[in-house]
Symmetry: D3
Subunit: 290 residues, 6 copies
């Protein structure tokens, strides 16, 4: 027997989604997903579900991922001793091999596999493919850690135009064929910029940009570049938040409309951001309207 | 403040819609809407909302409409005396002029206007345009009442391929340029068949095909052609239901996958049909699987 | 038996048409047809014949029409009392309904039907379809009389590119879905401009722009904008000619190459204009060459 | 001053041409022109004019030509003694060189040049280009006289699809690069057939197929294959008419709709054929309707 | 100073390559590369060089690879104890994870990287991407070893049509998202067949199919299916050669023109096969011409 | 038996060609070939072989040719007395007819025929076709010798885009249809410029630009425009070299990247130029890098 009341409620929710679907239809949304935001299997399933749904209703989704805990686990497994210089991990040949295998061989294909199970077509790529992410060594002391010199998004467009969701490991290569580990936030800023993305979602494991990093209620829901610079100057943005916010600003300079530092711990945070006017996290934009 | 519980519920409903969106994506659904199903303004708004939503998520929607009460109202307004032969209305030149004006000039453009307000692109057409519906006179005594000889759906495809929802008045023309009123159910069967539609929704003001026409609980949810023929033979399908069910069968013979005699009095009945396994009305198919 | 002399004469006339066909091939010609120019059925048939012929030889034709006498006839039929403010007709809800029905339901489909009978493909559209003509209320006292705010000609291009002749009723719509009657000359200037038309033919029931409005021999065959402004200043352009000439100038400012105020009472005046160096009416251009 | 009467007459003739233009629009018409039909410069100009006009109104024209008198003139000029075996000319290396130069270098480019002057785009090709006409030696005693083994019309389609009129010299080549003179009627049958032409016009210097070759009034206006075979059997088709009619039948077997043996001495005979129901010459078709 | 003699020799070799380039231009060649054929870095570089060169001159190359020694090395590294049942390796979850990482993360990206350095565009894919290779479990006792049920080569076509060389790891997935290791020879037969490949090159570390497996001079240069079946019956094909030759026959049944069991130990064996009439290895074809 | 050493050498040479193929792939190279460079049949075969090979590996080749000795031979054959004014040949009607026949009918088709035999598709065109080369009379006293006023390369692009090699006779036409002989070097500069060619190869029968015209060892391998002007001023470029070098400079001004005055007497000089860093002849460029 049909529950007409429930059906009406479903219909209402679906029709309420219409203006948002219209707004993002055929627009490009880049999701950067990785690190600590990737820990829960249930949340990972939901993130993929959100991406699949948005692709189905016509949004052009691109997923970039890092590796996070799985890389450490992989290194442990082969008994690799971590080495640090001034707190930064040294990436020798053996380490970059593990990073490459974990990112491009394991995490990437798992995400592709999850998306496929939700009924969309997904393709796993890396910055090595078609030399999409060109890089040079950042610092000889750190080994195979790369600095991006250029990105070429034509392969992403090729597969996206045929209806596939590109899923990209943030590795880079140089002319000699050396492979580098690339910071995923930085790569996301470059790629989302080169694609003229409407939105870049930076999935994290924090509530967003906070005025007081110990008080989640001090969340700043929306900020523009001038305000962000002021927060830098006032020392409110500090620690690990500094490079993340710098990436957001960089993405906007490269042509992204809005960057959202998104609380990946919230269920379906991507859909939530798309379907309400106040999303979960902090939206960074070029300039708030006066 | 975000209501996370409500947001989660919304996300859940949306993600539950995914397999259905996947199923109908890029498929053609023809909706025949008119007559008594068109009386309530609120229901009309909901039907247009459902069509707009499905178009937005990638279903290729076509809307055919008749006129119903508005034609009678138009005839009254000019003081036209209705004339009948054996209970069938005689359509003289003056009458067909009114029919044409009401259908192609008023009802058609109102539906287009409503769809446009829901954020989709709609184009009003009639069977006269590009001589899409070719017809001949059915019976000289009845005047300008036409029998379809041929349909050419290439204009529908042209506008549909460019993202517009075609909204079609069921008028026809012959080689000499005479205009005929065409039964909307029949036209729907021809056009949905010529387009190879996945679904034809016949919006009506009844619950569906009933075993006992006075008992809504006797609704037959699903029927195949053999069963329908048996119901004809048993006299269970009778009266006004006879031509409607004949149209359903004709549509299936012309290549439509499924025809649904749909209760247009139920809110969002189109979405309901798409989103649950038991929709509102009776589904007619070629053959039930054994 | 073949009449070789006649055949040779026919061949000669056809071959003489060659340079003109070459000149206009693949160019866009917009014809504005309506009002008093539309009274004779024989002339209407010839205008459609000319448009069909030009479409066949490769000219991209667009037809815009008003309603003229048929609207008055429709209003009379329902016994509607005309109301005027300062000589301008007040268009209440009932009036705009009749206008919409007559224009989009009757005149439009009759023109489409005539073109189809001449062997070309035609599609009837209105400014409501795809909200092609966006408008706002001109003056609350006048009711549903609209001022154009924007036109979107992409639907016209879609059907034109597929070989159809677009036939357009000059109605407009606003965001709330209100329908407005739109002056057909103004709409023609907007649409011909937006399409970058080579020619805009304004079919009228006068000889063209006259120096002495009572003396047809005072016809000005060709005029540029500076000269027109001078004629305004000298009071030679006056009365109903003022808005018409203003529309011609506006069309040129919007990008039309030449506008012709054309004597629609002359048989095949459109072909005549295309086939001789001195057409029937007044050609308006940006600047005569020195 | 405009001569309105003359203008009306012109308009009438042009509009009378409409159904014919519609009929042949986008269809392929192959014209075979050469030999004795090519003698008058005035007639040649008219043939080119007809072809140009038809191309302009959308007919896809292809022109094949032989050389006729110009080849003899060329051979005389270098003092080449003609040599015959059983009445057939022996084509040695020097002769084929002259044939090639006259056909592909002179006649071909003159026809292209004439067409260009009528405002259409024309391209001169030969059967050697892209090895469009593959041939083998017919008879060693005759030297470089070829028999067609295969034609490849893709080059013709390439230039035709870009709006050019292909003008083709009927030379052929074999795998070793030997060049052969090819009978133009035969080549026309092969090429028109391979293109699925609607019409093949065989321009000749006779009235058509005659029952009595000395009595032009015995012209057979229309004939089908069975009737032609009967005429062969009855000895009515004889002499030089035999291979010509065989070519007509061959063309129909290869897929041409109608072949017309056309009297090229009549002014504008091509337009005449297109514009009247009784053209100048004999139409050959597969089977007359009962 | 230019060495003209050397230059002439180079030009001669290049021009001698012409008929072969012509033969394979726009044809699809699938190369299966892996296992023991992959051991030498120098040979690997040459194989990639050959593939890059052929892609450059217009051959549509596809590269499928297995892993071979690198998988064993990876398993050793994490101290995984190999387990066998009847001589077949048991692939538990941990093992398939390593296989996936080595194949899709390491070998695949190294090959892509090498091809990119030779100036062509390459994209690394796996059978998981777009669920290109659908599989089911072969035998529960063996764990994640898959049997192919279906392949979908549309993603391969998408990237190939845009000029990329697809490089594919032979992993498979089922509907529940389980990942399976897939025999690379089998996958090559399926994929080359589905693409209608002109050639499938099976790179091995043996001379080809031998009559006496210990005598390289007993190489069979060319064999058809009937002959192969005879060799099976005669016990001449035995041991590890049995499944390989079965794959060759399967590939031909699936639509590949020719399969070559190619001696990958020979320098530039792919170019050699393409440039001489007797290549390095055994060609398998459907039927030798009588 | 395979000669593995030879095979390896071949493979090496082919793989060494890779960076050059990559460099010129999809680039346009125009070869001007004619006059004294055309005398040896063996060299002509090699030039065609080089052009065919480059086309096969993806370079977009265009061949322009003059006539040279064959024209004189043709004129002699008909006993035409040469007439000169100030050392320049007078081209009367009879002469231009011979020129046209020899160029467009003989030389052009022979080159096409040779290219076809090397397995590429070639199409013979002339400046008359599609009025590709527009010209006017240079000097009434010289008769039909033309000066280029304009070139339209769209026909060249049409056939080139479909994979054909355009082979072009440098004749020109004016609006009245007069045909002119056009200097092939000048035409090459215009056409290569209009196509934005990467290279223009001017095949000659000298070593290149020499400092001492009697000493081949004084060859200037590379020169820029400033240096060329200096050589003009110093009188080092003199005699027949003056117009040739002027053409080179003109070509560069029209948009060609590099022009090479190439020694056509050297075997496979075109391949040689493409495959070594020091080609056979003199390269002219806009400006040498400092």
């Amino acid at each position: 027997m049909i529950d007409f009341e429930d059906a009406a409620r479903r219909a209402e929710i679906l029709t309420q989604a219409m203006p948002y679907i219209r707004k993002y239809r055929d627009k490009i949304i880049v999701v950067k997903y990785g690190g600590n935001a990737m820990v829960s299997e249930e949340l990972k399933r939901q993130v993929m579900e959100d991406i699949a749904l948005l692709r189905m209703v016509g949004v052009r989704m691109v997923l970039l991922h890092g590796g996070g805990p799985e890389i450490n686990y992989g290194l442990q497994k082969i008994g690799k001793e971590p080495k640090f210089i001034n707190g930064l991990r040294v990436t020798d040949q053996e380490t970059i091999d593990i990073v490459q295998m974990v990112l491009a061989g394991k995490v990437n294909k798992s995400l592709v596999n999850l998306l496929q199970q939700h009924g969309v077509k997904a393709v796993g790529l890396s910055g090595i493919d078609a030399h999409m992410i060109r890089a040079v060594q950042k610092d000889p002391a750190l080994g195979y850690v790369g600095r991006i010199t250029d990105v070429d998004v034509s392969l992403i467009r090729t597969v996206m135009d045929d209806g596939y969701i590109p899923v990209i490991s943030t590795l880079g290569a140089d002319d000699e064929g050396n492979i580098y580990n690339i910071n995923a936030d930085t790569a996301a800023a470059y790629i989302a910029g080169a694609m003229g993305a409407e939105r870049l979602f930076m999935m994290t494991d924090i509530a967003g940009i906070l005025r007081d990093k110990d008080d989640p209620s001090s969340l700043i829901p929306c900020i523009d570049i001038d305000e962000a610079v002021q927060l830098f100057n006032d020392g409110i943005i500090s620690g690990g938040m500094i490079p993340k916010v710098e990436c957001c600003i960089d993405a906007i300079h490269r042509g992204v409309q809005r960057v959202i530092v998104m609380d990946g711990r919230v269920s379906h945070s991507i859909l939530l951001e798309i379907l309400t006017n106040e999303g979960a996290g902090t939206m960074v934009m070029e300039r708030k309207e006066a």
